[in-house]
Amino acid sequence: MARIQSQLSMKQLFWITFAVVLAVLPQLYRLPIWFLPMALMVISYRFYAQINHIKKAWNTLLMFLALLVLVLIIFSQGLTLSREISVTILISMAVLKLLETYTMRDALLVVMLCYFVTMTRFLYSQDLLLIFYLLGSAFITTHALSVLNYEKSARWFDRQQIKSTAASLSLAVPFAILFFLVFPRLGSPIWGSPDFFGEGKTGISDTMSPGSIIELFMDDSPAFRVTFDDGVVPPNAQLYWRGPVLWHFDGRTWSRQKHNSLRQTMRQYGDAETIAYQIEQENTGQNYMFSLDYVTDSAGKGFLLPDSTLYSMTTINQLRHYELKSVLLERFYQDLSDHNRRLLLTYPANQNQRTLALIRQWQAEDPNPLAVVNRALQKFNQEDFYYSFTPPPLEGEVIDEFLFESRRGFCEHYASTFTIMMRMAGIPARVVTGYQGGIDNGEYLLVKQSDAHAWSEVYIEPAQGSGYWMRIDPTSMVAPERVESGSQNIMTEKRHWIDFEWLRDTKESLDKYRYQWNQWVRDFNVSKQEALFKAIGFEYRDGKTLALLMMAILLFTALLTLIPMWWLKRQRHHTLQRLYLQLVRTIKHNPALYDQHRKGIEHLTAEIIKTYPESEPRMQHFLALYLQARYSKQAPKKQQLLQHLQKTLNQIKPILQASKAP
């Protein structure tokens, strides 16, 4: 390609930059802080250079810049071979490449890299809404390629060319869908683990410190979806989705206990008592799975830890499906070892003395553990405690401060305070985090990140050596609506500036589509493909059949574009051309004359008149009208002329036809 060395025009540069910016934009949030200023500088310099005809900088300088950026990346993201760092390097180099993009060759390289950059976004998330990004970015990148190849006009947004790009892409969509469904998939990765390219980290974590759950409250994205096998959703107050159980408290942060054993099997329950359900969990980048209290067994989906937490064997980096059975128990009988009892009674020594004094006073009045539990709950219920998403920050001895000073908080404050109070009273207690409630979307129950919740579990021992766990949700004493109808409905203040009820409702109804999207697109895999093949009659998935099927589909799809294109490109003549062809067809019987028709209307007319002198006046009239119509700009007048032309032609035809006879 001789043109490969040719210089870029302003318009071409604009479209390339547009493609790069659009490809990078959705990843901006996870790029280092210096990236945006760097990118802006690079782009503005490149345009400045274009306007002022500044030549490309020395290669050594550009090399140095690239190295500098590389060092910056390692400095801000660490030197590991991770997905983050490789994607950041790719993106930075794509942007930096603009600095040396002066010729067609470099421009083509940058544009094609844009496709790759677009793909890397899906390694982090495959949300439904990203389909717009996919289509948009593919469109702009393709249009940049088109503009690089040829500028139809000098206009920046040439409508004709944009239309042509759009047509190409929309013709490609049927291919994409068909190939998506039938292209052979891999059952397991050939190299690397899916963890390396998992979709990222969100959701509840295995520590809880003041304010950690509040971040989740702000987040309306889905945590998981549940379908109940019998279609009946239990009442909201029973929907406690158990996540990480936290044992240790250092005065500020709760953290979990590491276990090296599994929970003992519980006694068998009949089908009537158990609830069977399926969970479709969004990627969290962690190992926690969620279940209703209390899950009967892990069903091979993960480890069932002694504190009834389900813990996945691998990190959940993709959409995960699992089926569980639970029994909704008030009391969960379980033995407690001395070691664990000691751990569950530990609280920071020499802190929170006021609380300790209060507990000692209650114990003196009635030493029964259940009585202390009720006293504590009554205190939350009857004294002026408030449920608030914007509590004053706590410092120092947080339990004392919350119980006696601020008295405003949400689940994590109440669960944390209550648990420590119980431990002070000698009742083994722990904090359970997870989600509470969910929105019944008809087909399934949607649990959002904003449904995150924390509650307590206390161990009651009516007799020595036999005790049970009991769930206590102190938050429900302060705000019963929280548990009955969900976290969103008790809010009076906005969580953030774009927090509107209609927006939340829209998001919830959008989740239905997202659910379908997950079913059909995000979670499409070998087994779903096999089911599809089965449905259309391909039972065996051996290489030969697949190869044949692929060939058939390739041929079919090729025809799919070929046919509309033949149709679009078929010879079409405008009315004037058709009239001319009519004239030509009438003299087809005279080969010598017919051969003249390529030389144009004027020549042909002259020749016809020579051969058929009797047609002269009509032919002259025809020619005059034809030329008038050909160069006429006004549409109505042209229409009139065309009608006249047809009439004249109809008069000429018999003359030329008649002369054929002799």
């Binding site: 593919a138 190849n149 998939r185």
Partner: protein
């Protein structure tokens, strides 16, 4: 089979249509399609993307990958249809002197719009759009010998719209281009033989010695200044000057040069010089007499005769 012979056979195999009479319509049977260099780069990036998408079963990546695959298919067809039913109406070229490049004007036409129709070779390239049924492309061709030179095989191609594929057609038209002999440079003085007195006078080779100059290839032996040459290392030639009428006669038979081509080359130079001075002249070749005249038409008649002398001197 020697490589040369093999190449010839290959050429013949691919060029079985031989020389064609224009106009030629390039239907689908004549179109070659291959991915272009950027297209291959696109394919390699696409392949990487597909591997990554399949390996991690990342369905949105695969969607993008398959969308791009569909796009490539569509673009392939678009490129093909952009070239299909293109017509090469005619090839025109003005005569050139041997050694100069021949400029070919290719008139192409089509019933629908064609974008970025391109012709390229080692010497030049040109691109055109056919929006109003017809358009023209220019290409160059080296001149190889005097006389009629057949037009080279013409390659018309397009990469529209995305440049991922190249579609091209070949055509060898029947047409030939007239190549005049290469004029000798610098132009030697006019000969003194022949010619007639005219009103105006020009200095041509005459009887009286006006000066002495070093020998130039092709000088007649009788002009050599033997005495002077013997005294020095060089060979010297006597310059004769004589006024001659504007009527010049260039006679092939009277020239003292060993090589036919050199003779023709010199006459060509003289003809051009005479035409420049607007002097009437006559070219005499065995079997050809131009008659005494001047002017564009006469010039071309003479040059054509010179070009075609001894059937074009084709080697």
């Amino acid at each position: 089979m020697t490589p040369r012979l093999f190449k010839d056979r290959l050429q013949r195999f691919f060029n079985r249509r031989g020389k064609e009479r224009l106009p030629v319509v390039f239907d689908w049977r004549r179109i070659y399609v291959l991915p272009s260099k950027p297209g291959l780069f696109f394919a390699s990036i696409w392949f990487l993307m597909m591997l990554a998408g399949l390996n991690f079963n990342n369905n949105m990546s695969l969607m993008l990958v398959f969308l791009l695959f569909g796009l490539a298919q569509v673009v392939l067809h678009k490129t093909f249809f952009n070239l299909r039913n293109l017509r090469l109406e005619q090839v025109k070229a003005d005569p050139v002197f041997l050694g100069d490049a021949i400029t070919l004007f290719l008139q192409v036409s089509a019933d629908d719009k064609k974008w970025q129709i391109r012709t390229e070779n080692d010497l030049t390239d040109d691109t055109t759009n056919i929006t109003e049924q017809s358009s023209q492309l220019t290409t160059l061709m080296p001149s190889l010998h005097r006389g009629w030179q057949a037009v080279d095989r013409i390659k018309l191609m397009t990469r529209f719209p995305l440049g991922l594929f190249t579609c091209w057609v070949y055509c060898t038209p029947q047409d030939a281009v007239l190549v005049y002999p290469k004029p000798e440079d610098p132009c030697p003085p006019f000969p003194h033989h022949g010619g007639r007195e005219g009103e105006q006078t020009t200095w041509v080779k005459g009887e009286e010695i006006s000066s002495i100059r070093p020998y130039r290839h092709g000088d007649p032996i009788r002009d050599i200044a033997w005495k002077k040459s013997a005294q020095t290392e060089q060979t010297w030639v006597k310059e004769f000057k004589q006024t001659q009428g504007q009527y010049l006669s260039f006679d092939y038979a009277q020239m003292n040069l060993s090589n036919t081509e050199l003779k023709l080359s010199r006459i060509t130079a003289w003809v051009l010089a005479a035409e420049l001075q607007q002097a009437e002249y006559q070219v005499l070749l065995p079997g050809f007499d131009s008659g005494m005249s001047v002017g564009e038409k006469h010039l071309h008649r003479c040059l054509k005769a010179l070009a075609l002398y001894q059937s074009g001197g084709a080697s």
